[in-house]
Structure formats: C-alpha cells, structure tokens
C-alpha cells in the first residue's frame, strides 16, 4: 500500500475550525508546505493536506482538514468532524468577534464531533501586536476553564505554528498510547446516553486507523 514516503505508526485526523478570515488555511499551508499568502483565497467546503512528524521515535501522520468559516457551510463541514481526533479552534487575536464566537464553535464540536476529541484553542496573527484585541491571559483562562490547550501563533512569521501542531499531535498520541496500555482494544468508553457513539478510537493497527480517518 505505502508506495510513497508514507510509512507511519499513527494516522490522526485533525480539523481546523473557526471564523472566516482568521487564518486557518495559512496555518495549514505554513505547517504542511511552509508557505504563506497574505491574500489567500477563501476556502470553499473543505481542503485537505497532510504532514508527518516524529514523537517518541514514532511517525505520526497528521491528516488535516481545513474547513470554510462561513456559517452557511456548516451543514457540509460538520460531516468532516466525524473521525477527527483533534481540532484546532482558531481565532484572530486582532478581531475580538472571532474570539467571542469560539463558544459557538465549541458547541459545534460537541454536537458533531467525538466527545473525546482533543481541542486546542489557537490565537492566530500574533504578529499583529499593535492591533491586539484579545488578551493572551483572557484566552488562556478561557481555555483552562474549558479543558482546552492554548497557544498563540503567527502563520505569517511562523511563530509557534509547528509547535501548535506538534503539541496537539503529541497530546493525542499520549492519550492513544496510554489508552492502549490501559484498555484492551475493545475497551468500553463511558458516554452520556444522549450521545451517539462514534467509533474513532485509534489503535496501533495502522490499517484500521487509516480506514477510520479517511472516512
């Protein structure tokens, strides 16, 4: 199967969500191709890219889905939350409204994504210091209260972009590998009764991981 530079131990599906214009596509372009476009085209529907990183000597392949920010698209983009084990919820540090909408995005994830999804709050455009509208500490506090990890990035000057992806992928990896020690593969997960179970537990078996993540 793997005819490309494509051997990996884990395949994790991660989604990029957040308001329109906060820089999701540029975060993806910076992380996967080390590119940045000041005026990149708006994303229509979803776009896909991938990159592999090393954690503890293991190759982790991140399959990243970039989604359109406009509310109208949510009916379409919500389909892509399925099977995602991580989400970068992005806002623009210079636009307070995009930060206020973070709660709506969290609800969106709760409604459509797996309950165990790892979420990282990302304040992008940290290079716009003079225009800052969202205080770092305020966002950090919000993240802590909601059990999210938090980081500020700049896709423009590359600050923290790799770190953000590295952190969330490592966090997912830790959870998955600990789970494998703790639970047998068929181990039950406790779920609230009103949540429809979605089978997204990654395992060491790359084949099954691939199937789950590509859906």
């Amino acid at each position: 199967m793997n005819t490309r530079d494509d051997d990996y131990d884990y395949l994790f599906k991660v989604v990029l969500i957040g308001d329109s214009g906060v820089g999701k596509s540029n975060l993806l372009a910076r992380f996967t191709r080390n590119e940045f476009n000041l005026e990149s085209k708006s994303t229509i529907g979803v776009e896909f890219a991938t990159r592999s990183i090393q954690v503890d000597g293991k190759t982790i392949k991140a399959q990243i889905w970039d989604t359109a920010g406009q509310e109208r698209y949510r009916a379409i983009t919500a389909a892509y939350y399925r099977g995602a084990v991580g989400a970068l919820l992005v806002y623009d540090i210079a636009k307070h409204l995009t930060y206020e909408n973070v709660e709506r995005w969290l609800r969106e994830l709760r409604d459509h994504a797996d309950q165990n999804i790892v979420i990282m709050l990302v304040g992008n455009k940290s290079d716009l210091r003079h225009l800052r509208a969202v205080l770092t500490e305020e966002a950090r506090g919000f993240a802590e209260r909601n059990g999210l990890s938090f980081i500020e990035t700049s896709a423009l000057d590359s600050t923290n972009v790799d770190t953000a992806f590295q952190n969330i992928l490592t966090e997912i990896y830790r959870i998955v590998s600990q789970k494998q020690i703790r639970d047998p593969p068929e181990g039950d997960t406790i779920r609230p009764q009103n949540v429809e179970p979605i089978d997204v537990k990654p395992t060491m078996n790359t084949d099954s991981v691939r199937k789950q993540c590509c859906q």
């Binding site: 229509i44 896909f48 509310e71 009916a75 379409i76």
Partner: protein
C-alpha cells in the same frame, strides 16, 4: 437515493427542447436497437441528420456537409452516432499529429474542426485562428444586428463567443437584454437606474443590523478573490464587487451571500470591462480609474443583473444546507459509477468521498479549478445552456473528473488522490481544452440525461 434522478428535469432541458427526431442521439422514445437499417434510411436524410445534431458541433462546421454535398445521402442512426464518437475519441488520442493548415475550414474553433472526419488535424493556436474568429464574428454580428431568437443565439454561442461581441451576447443570453433591438436601449437605461436605486436604498445608507454579517463576510472575501491578478487588488474594483454582492444577497434572502458567489461575478465583470477598454489591452493589469464613472457604473450594473439572472437557475445550490449541491454530488457519483466504474471503484476503494472534491466544483462552477480566461470561455457555454444549465453543470463536472482519469488511476492512496483532485493541473489550459470538456459533457448528457434508466440501473446494487 431520493431525489437522485428526476426525469421531470429533463422535460425542460435545452436538449429536449431542440430535439425532434434526432438520429445519432439515443432517444428514449425510439428503440434504436430494433431499428433496422432499411427502416432508418427510409426516413432520414443526411441533411436532416446534420440539421438535427448541429447543436453538438460548431456552427461553422456545416461546410462539412457541403463538402459531402450530395442531397439525399442516407445514413443510419447507428453509423452517425458511432462516427461522432470516433471523432471524439480520435481527437483525444491524436492531438499531437502533424498539422496541415488547409484553410478549407472556417471553423470557429480549432478544437471543433478537429473533430471532423477526413479533415487534417490541427495543432492548437494555429495562425488561422484569427480567420476562424473572423468568420464566426461575422455570423454573430449579422445575428446581433437583427432580432435573433434566443435559440439561434444559444446555438451559435455554445462553442464560444468572439471577444468583440461577447458582452452583448452575454446580456442577451442572460435574459437581461431584450432581443428586440428597439427595446434594448430603453431597457438598459432603466435597469441600470434600478440597480443604482437599490444601491442608494440599501448600501449607501445606514446598513440594517440584520445585514451586518453578510456585509462582513463579503468584505473579507472580496480582497482575497484573485490574489494573483492586479485588477482585483484595486480598491475601486473591490468596492464594485462589494456592492454587487451585497445587493444580490439582500435581494435573495433564501440563500443570502455564500462564499464562492464572489467568484461567479468575476466572469461578468471581466467581460463587461473588456468591452469598455480598448482592444487587446490585457484586463489583468488595467487600472479601472482610467474609465469614466459612467463606464464603471455600466460595468457594475450589468454585472449585477447578469449575475442575478444566471444564479436564478441554480439558486438551490446556495440555500440552507446547499441541497442543490448535495443532490448533484450524489448524481455525480451515480453517473461516474455508471460511466466509468473502474474510476469510481478506485476512488471509493481509497475512501475518497465525492463531496470532498466536487463540492467546490459545483459551488464555484469550476472557477476555482480553471484559469480565468478558461472560465470565461466556459461561461459562453454555461450561458448558452440557458434554462438547462442546472442540469448541464452536473455533466460538466463529470466530464471534468473523467478528464483526469489516467492520472487518478495512477494515484495509489487517499492522500495522493485528494491532493491531485484539489490541485488539478489546468494552468496551461486554453479555450480548446474547455471546448473539449463541454463537448464531452454534452456527450454524457445526451447518453444519460435522456435515458433515466441508465442512472437508475445501479441503484439496486448498493
């Protein structure tokens, strides 16, 4: 699959409207298989055949028949159909054949004349293209000078419209400009004034709180529309786009502004701009401030009205949950499964979901997949499809996917497939490639749109 195929749609389709008894086209009403040669030859002259399928060929190609020249040449439906298919196939495989510029063809577009049996193959962009254009231009000018019917205009436009008459033809095809010469000027003046009244009423005044989200979305989308083309970086141009989109959005509350509609203004804007600037000046670098305000206002108002008319036919693409698109994605899947099951199985085997790549194709009508110059040529055909564009769009996407069949089959995993599908190498596409694409789409439509069972056959299998 509900709503998968609705034969009702076909009743209003362009092709059916034009079709009477059409040899060379599988007709649900006539059983071709049972038709014997003698039966067919008795009823079908070659001239009839030629007249009936002329919508599939460039209008100038009819000299093909003059060459053959013999009245009452009889030809069977089967023969004519297979000949047409052969020509299409030949073209695909022989684009690199040596050329022989015999200017016997005054065809409008090389790609089309290439399909004529017995005629030397030509390379693209040969120097008799000008001549081709001239011939076609004359036909357009004589048609536009009178009171053309929309059907005549569609027929002539389908295979591409010369730049010089494109703006007027698009206005007519959109249904914005009346065909009747005497009514044209008055109507234009009135509609343009209407547009500016709308701007005054909704845009220039304090904007309603309810529209703030719409305005905001348009405002952040317009500057990033065509980052590589300087024309679109000018604030005057961006303001024009913002007004067009905002007024359109508030006049269409069922859909409102949806990201991507901004790209659909572009072809209209460029064509009306080209009309206003002197010949051969590249629009990409043009500074719109060089135009008078009056000229700019005309470009803006006409873009608005033509966009509105055009989108009227595909509004369900942009309503809540984008149901029109979701339905077409399913239809596309069914169609590919039927036409090219190998490709379909390859995609599904690697877990590629049609929604993942074809959503953008359908939402943006391929504007994101093609260079702008090709988009404009594609729009000639889109507009010439008139009322049946909503259906034709599906076949264009199918033809577009099939175009990359070989490359796609060469990809061996999900990642490779998705990356290819998102970045199809169309940078060097020309009008000829678009001509071939729509010809293939037409072919698919003839084969499948008029034969609903073709699509339904496989439904039970899954």
């Amino acid at each position: 699959m509900d709503g998968l195929y609705n034969p009702e749609n076909d009743k209003t389709s362009f092709w059916k409207k034009n079709s009477k008894a059409i040899p060379g086209r599988p007709s649900p009403k006539k059983d071709i298989k049972s038709g014997t040669r003698s039966k067919l030859t008795g009823s079908t002259s070659f001239q009839e055949f030629q007249a009936s399928v002329s919508d599939a060929w460039a209008v100038d190609d009819d000299e093909f028949c003059i060459i053959s020249g013999v009245d009452n040449t009889h030809i069977s439906k089967k023969v004519s159909e297979s000949a047409a298919l052969n020509v299409l196939n030949n073209h695909r495989t022989s684009s690199d054949q040596s050329m022989n510029i015999q200017t016997t063809n005054k065809g409008n577009e090389n790609v089309r004349s290439n399909r004529i049996p017995g005629r030397p193959q030509q390379l693209r962009n040969t120097n008799n293209q000008d001549e081709d254009c001239e011939s076609k231009l004359e036909r357009f000018e004589s048609l536009l000078g009178g009171t053309p019917t929309i059907a005549e205009l569609c027929k002539l436009s389908w295979s591409g419209i010369p730049v010089k008459v494109r703006a007027t033809t698009w206005r007519l095809l959109s249904g914005y400009l009346p065909v009747n010469q005497e009514r044209r000027q008055g109507m234009l003046e009135r509609k343009r004034q209407d547009y500016w009244n709308l701007v005054k009423q909704y845009y220039d005044t304090e904007r309603d709180e309810a529209y703030q989200d719409t305005y905001h979305q348009i405002h952040i989308d317009v500057p990033r529309m065509n980052p590589s083309i300087p024309l679109f970086q000018q604030s005057l141009v961006q303001q024009m786009f913002e007004r067009i989109l905002f007024i359109w959005a508030i006049r269409h509350p069922a859909s409102g502004y949806v990201q991507g509609i901004n790209d659909l203004v572009t072809p209209f804007f460029v064509v009306f701009l080209q009309e206003a600037i002197s010949d051969n000046q590249p629009f990409e670098l043009f500074m719109v401030e060089l135009l008078s305000k009056e000229q700019r206002d005309i470009i803006e108002a006409d873009s608005f009205w033509c966009l509105s008319k055009f989108l009227d036919g595909i509004q369900d693409n942009y309503v809540f949950a984008q149901l029109g698109i979701q339905r077409k994605v399913n239809q596309l899947k069914e169609l590919i499964q039927r036409v090219d099951n190998t490709l379909h199985r390859h995609l599904t085997h690697h877990n590629v979901d049609y929604l993942q790549f074809s959503f953008r194709w359908l939402n943006n009508l391929l504007t994101r997949e093609l260079p702008l110059r090709c988009t404009i040529r594609l729009w000639d055909t889109y507009l010439a499809e008139n009322d049946s564009f909503a259906l034709f769009q599906l076949y264009v996407c199918a033809a577009f996917l099939l175009q990359w069949r070989k490359k796609l089959l060469g990809e061996t995993d999900f990642q490779g497939l998705m990356l290819l599908l998102q970045n199809l190498p169309t940078q060097n596409w020309t009008g000829s490639d678009v001509g071939l694409l729509v010809a293939e789409a037409y072919h698919l439509k003839v084969m499948f749109a008029d034969a609903p069972n073709h699509l339904q056959n496989n439904q039970g299998d899954r």
